[in-house]
């Protein structure tokens, strides 16, 4: 399901125009990113939580040149599935 399919599905359910849905979807994403930027965790009950995690800096070695280089620490967005949803999808048959 890509973005377009998602929009049409939402529009059908909410009885809204796709442009409206688009606006909502965009603002939702923006709001979430804004909150995450401010170092906050977003918890969506029954689905999961989004969290910004810090990855420590590390030394990597280029396997070809054997050159060691330092990867600086960075922040990454992590999603943790809630146990409720985990259990829902756990026993599904394998996809594809």
């Amino acid at each position: 399901m890509n973005n377009k399919e998602l929009q049409t599905a939402l529009a059908a359910k909410l009885e809204m125009s796709t442009s409206e849905v688009d606006l909502f979807l965009q603002s939702t994403v923006d709001a979430m990113v804004d909150q995450l930027k401010a170092n906050k965790t977003i918890n969506i009950q029954g689905f999961g939580s989004f969290e910004v995690r810090k990855k420590e800096e590390r030394v990597t070695v280029n396997p070809l040149t054997k050159v060691r280089s330092m990867v600086p620490s960075k922040l990454s967005l992590a999603f943790k599935t809630s146990t409720v949803y985990k259990d829902k999808i756990k026993d599904l048959p394998r996809h594809e």
Binding site: L6, V29, V33, K40, R68
Partner: protein, 440 residues
């Protein structure tokens, strides 16, 4: 790293503000969005949200695993998992905004860092190479390794004897005695260290270290201290060995005194304290050479090396005796420490040592309503002691809380000290065990 957890409600407020629609509408939208994503994931196994990221269902293959507690192998069945991959834009925005907040360090040139470390190691190695010959010449390296072990074997008696001799000297010279005591308080190495410390700084200057690298200087300092400790130990040890040989030559004719010595020790267990008083009461000690000898002999009991009779011979130079006189203090401490430890281990040994159940009082058959605690009450008089019954039957009992009817429980015969009802530690220990097993 998160300092605040936001629920859907907070998100709804933010969306309503942005879109200008009512909160109710935003709330509806968000809920539908959630269910749609969930359904989409289940249906397609993939949901893409533009500008945010992709949710994906990932299949985890079934695999074998081992139960850590029971050691049994079991298979984790294959299952689905949600993975979320944020879009590059989101990643970037999060990183750029939060860099000042999280205090990310500016990237250090890794090569520089590694070079620094390599140089530090080089310095340490060269330091060690320099120091070993300084301390003891050729045989220094051998002594270096043996140093920690040697004082325990030869050192004990030798030093004790030497200390005795030092005492003999100081009986005639009370002023020097005081000096000895002062030295005794400071670590043995101190006097040696001082002499060598003078030579050390020169070396560091020769290497023309950059002053700005504080870290390296620190490491150097640590290395120097360590090396001096080792050198000092080697030095003292070497003198001990020298002394040992000369001493042996002196007392070659003396008869074996160990057998005589031991009975006296048995009568006087408070030798350590007796020795403590030595520096204070010189005259008394002079009259009682026996007590001194006991101190020596006690060590002889601990380490069966040939000891010699206490003889008021003083043929060694003062420098020798002075150095050695500092050692007994440390030994005293170690002896004192060792003794209470031994007592402790005696006390707790019943609980610490692994219990082996060989003898059994009888075999109880579990009936309906019966429980291990009831059996424990019957045989031991205290219900918490059921843990020992459980331990004895551990291999057959999977769940001590509920036993199958008709199950045969072997009731072990327990050490009387272990189930001493008057001893509160027994009950306490059993309760600890109970907590441990019930938790499982």
């Amino acid at each position: 790293m998160s300092n605040e957890k936001l629920s859907i409600q907070d998100l709804v407020d933010a969306i309503a503000q942005r879109t200008g629609y009512s909160k109710k509408r935003s709330d509806d939208f968000l809920r539908v969005l959630q269910t749609t994503i969930e359904e989409g994931l289940i249906k397609d196994g993939l949901v893409k949200i533009k500008g945010f990221g992709t949710f994906k269902l990932v299949w985890n293959e079934a695999r074998k695993s081992v139960n850590v507690q029971t050691g049994k192998e079991y298979i984790i069945p294959g299952h689905n998992k949600v993975s979320f991959i944020p879009e590059a834009i989101v990643k970037d925005t999060i990183n750029e905004s939060s860099t000042p907040v999280s205090g990310v360090k500016p990237p250090i040139n890794p090569l520089e860092k590694l070079n620094e470390q390599a140089e530090e190691i080089k310095i340490i190695i060269s330091e060690l190479k320099d120091l070993v010959p300084d301390a003891e010449g050729t045989n220094g390296s051998i002594d270096l390794i043996e140093a920690p072990a040697m004082p325990l074997e030869k050192g004990d008696d030798l030093v004790a004897e030497e200390a005795k001799k030092a005492e003999v000297i100081t009986e005639t010279k009370p002023i020097e005695k005081k000096e000895d005591n002062k030295e005794a308080k400071t670590p043995v190495v101190a006097p040696v260290a001082e002499t060598q410390a003078a030579s050390e700084p020169q070396k560091t200057h020769e290497r023309d270290l950059p002053v700005k690298k504080k870290k390296r200087v620190w490491i150097l300092a640590i290395v120097i201290v360590f090396a001096l400790l080792v050198a000092g130990g080697v030095y003292v040890e070497f003198q001990n060995v020298q002394f040992f040989f000369t001493h042996l030559m002196d007392d070659y004719d003396a008869p074996h005194p160990t057998k005589k010595a031991q009975p006296i020790v048995a009568k006087q267990p408070v030798l350590v304290t007796a020795r403590k008083q030595l520096p204070a009461k010189d005259t008394v000690k002079a009259v009682q050479p026996k007590q001194q000898s006991k101190a020596v002999e006690k060590k002889a009991v601990q380490t069966p090396v040939v000891t010699t009779k206490p003889q008021p011979k003083v043929d060694n130079t003062k420098s020798n005796t002075k150095k050695v006189a500092t050692e007994p203090k440390i030994e005293q401490k170690t002896v004192q420490k060792a003794e209470p430890k031994a007592q402790k281990s005696n006390k707790t040994s019943i609980f610490d040592k692994p219990r082996v159940y060989k003898t059994f009082i009888c075999i109880e058959t579990i009936e309906k309503g019966s429980h291990l605690t009831l059996i424990a009450q019957k045989y031991y008089g205290y219900k918490t002691f059921w843990v020992y019954i459980y331990e004895a039957n551990k291999d057959k009992i999977s769940n001590p809380e509920s036993l199958p009817v008709g199950f045969k429980v072997k009731v072990p015969k327990l050490d009387a000290e272990l189930i001493d009802l008057k001893n509160p530690t027994c009950k306490k220990y059993a309760q600890e065990l109970e907590a441990k097993y019930v938790q499982k």
